[in-house]
Subunit: 400 residues, 2 copies
């Protein structure tokens, strides 16, 4: 068939090909340490599963309203209001089959062809893909090292705003770096958005994965409630990535458009699963704390062992389930400075499967450091320790 | 927020507002007979629910591949090959969160802006909406009465083909009329598609809802396998509309594009539910026969009682779960010839809630008959009988 022209502008998640390679390597009988995978090997809390099964048995197997059952929309608005200091109601919430659909729907609802959209790079590759697929111009902003951690380069972002800039995508907390905006950074972002009349996608997929302290949302900065759409997902906080449930939360006028997109795209999200997450939000919170505790132990192990490798510098974020170590010196010593060669050599020699910086976009002009992304959400502590020990041994041998 | 220009071209299912009105009427304490609803009040077969729950408990709660688990893709290819006489493999199948997403993805994958797309009218309103939303030109073809039933107007379709025509949407069996193409009609459609190099969306959402005989698919006509994408859904045959599972089935090149759209749009469909429908396809088929038998009894009751009303002429289709009676004379006698006034008067006076022809597109120029659509999938036989008896009584009173 002759494919439509727009498809040549459609990107993908190249991390999927890393998964395929890791699977091929494993099928040859070798051990793989799947640090490439942003998935979780933690069971969904039992109370969520039970509530979903009860709803299934009670006949919640027919259609529900396009934006989801009203009890869930109300509970989610209340939950987000409590953590965000916002004033959302059910009318501001459209349940989605995952957090990801919010990216495309935000762009379809608010971007005209030819509009410029600022997006993070390194960042989740679907932003750039959806912007360009639907005829916009994707304008990247980067991250800069400061005191051993990466921070969004808001100065560069400001310089790249033109009269055609219409939308800004902020991923806070940020995949892959684990950066979480300070209050000052949120205020600077809000200032730019208000000054240049930008609408903002606040991708908060990792907002509730928080090991210490509290988080603030861009939506809670004065003047931002009316120009922010929050990408919300149940996937991470409830360890239910494969259930596919999330939400768009924002001003009623854009949520109404997203509701019509729901009618057009998928009618509604899985009906009985919505009763599961309703229990997740309103019932016993100890399973959620258990998920965080499990992830914290993994993070601490991975971060400690990575930082013990000569030439590896790993910031330890208080959020997300990723580490994004600067491996420049270690890789120079090992004569592995081509990203794909580095990744494949590490996989073949150690079974450690990772994504590199390039799985999160083309490198920007100023970049001179090398980064790998380690996801620790899909592996138990002993496997994390074994994998990184093997990597350390390999690098030591290669250096000598 | 300032909404994007394309949104002014986005349509919806106006049937949702009928649902809202019916709910409001019911909340005032009155009985509603929900004939407007294309939903089912039949439980999902127990073996499907059990298999899904087992998968959930076995940890199938993380991501699965974007096109679905390979066991299901293989089983579905085999199942469709058996009923369609086709030669699909897993590579031709992309699992979706419902049948509906196939409409938008087919259009995004194959239609360029400005292309003309032939679509059925009366027909499912999302075709027109998605064509125009993504910058195409929606060109309707109608249905003509012949021997008491409605048939697709293939002559009109042929006349409307221009050098800009690129895609053809065929809904066979057809909602709302219940028309199912004869072998001769399928061959004529194939001839047009091949002659004019059209790619075809074969929306077969009701293919397996079959009360008598066997059905042929447009995809099985020689030359069509390579230019047909089948919209497949588990929703109707397994009474699981609210689970949201379906598939796109077609040539590998377009399925590959749809796979990339899956990565961009929703990552994957619900993981554990796929084990449910795998059991549905490969396990005990008696629950599926039970669903058909239940629907048949409802169809027979509804059709018999509607045809007993003076001035109502109702064809009894061997497929779908809709009746589309010609009510022209009955409504003229009742002085109700404005569709919306007719519908609201019937709702208020009898509690019978229906869709009219206008919920399936703007009337075409030649149309001079009035039609209502009765869905019998969401009501038990006694309620169907009571509702239509009330309608008959109202029309009799109104006539006298």
């Amino acid at each position: 068939m002759q494919i439509a022209e727009r498809v040549c502008r459609l990107g993908t998640e190249t991390a999927f090909s890393v998964s395929a390679e890791a699977a091929a390597f494993a099928s040859s009988g070798k051990t793989v340490y799947p640090f490439h995978l942003g998935d979780m090997n933690i069971p969904t809390p039992g109370n969520i599963a039970e509530a979903a099964i009860k709803a299934m048995m009670d006949g919640k197997t027919g259609y529900c309203p396009p934006c989801g059952i009203v009890e869930l929309r109300e509970a989610l608005a209340a939950d987000v209001n409590a953590s965000h200091n916002t004033s959302y109601s059910a009318a501001n919430v459209a349940i989605q089959p995952g957090g990801k659909p919010v990216i495309g729907k935000f762009i379809l609802a608010l971007m005209n062809a030819g509009d410029e959209v600022l997006y993070p790079n390194p960042g989740y590759p679907i932003y750039e893909s959806q912007i360009e697929f639907h005829g916009g111009r994707a304008v990247p902003y980067g991250y800069l090292q400061r005191d051993g951690e990466l921070r969004p380069d808001i100065d560069a972002m400001a310089r790249r705003i033109t009269p055609r800039t219409r939308l800004l995508i902020v991923n806070d907390p940020h995949n892959p770096t684990g950066a979480a905006c300070t209050q000052e950074e949120l205020e600077r972002l809000a200032e730019l958005a208000i000054e240049h009349d930008l609408y903002v996608l606040a991708d908060e997929a990792y907002f509730d994965i928080r090991y210490e302290g509290t988080r603030k949302s861009l939506a809670s900065v004065p003047g931002m409630l009316e120009r922010c759409v929050i990408l919300y997902t149940f996937s991470k906080k409830f360890a239910m990535t494969g259930w596919r449930l999330g939400a768009a939360i924002g001003p009623k006028d854009v949520i109404d458009v997203i509701a019509t997109l729901n009618v057009n795209d998928e009618s509604c999200s899985n009906h009985f699963a919505q009763y599961g997450v309703l229990e997740g939000l309103t019932g016993d919170q100890s399973p959620v704390r258990g998920i965080i505790e499990t992830l914290r132990q993994r993070r601490d192990t991975a971060s400690r062992l990575l930082n013990a490798i000569p030439g590896v510098h790993c910031f330890t974020p208080q959020t997300t389930f990723y580490l994004f170590p600067d491996v420049t010196e270690a890789m120079q010593k090992a004569s592995l400075t081509d990203y794909e060669r580095m990744r494949l050599t590490i996989l073949q020699e150690t079974g450690v499967s990772v994504c590199t910086r390039l799985h999160f976009g083309r490198a920007l002009a100023h970049e001179d450091r090398l980064y790998l992304r380690f996801a620790y959400s899909g592996m138990d502590v002993p496997d994390i320790a074994e994998g990184i020990a093997g990597l350390a041994h390999f690098l030591e041998m290669r250096d000598s």
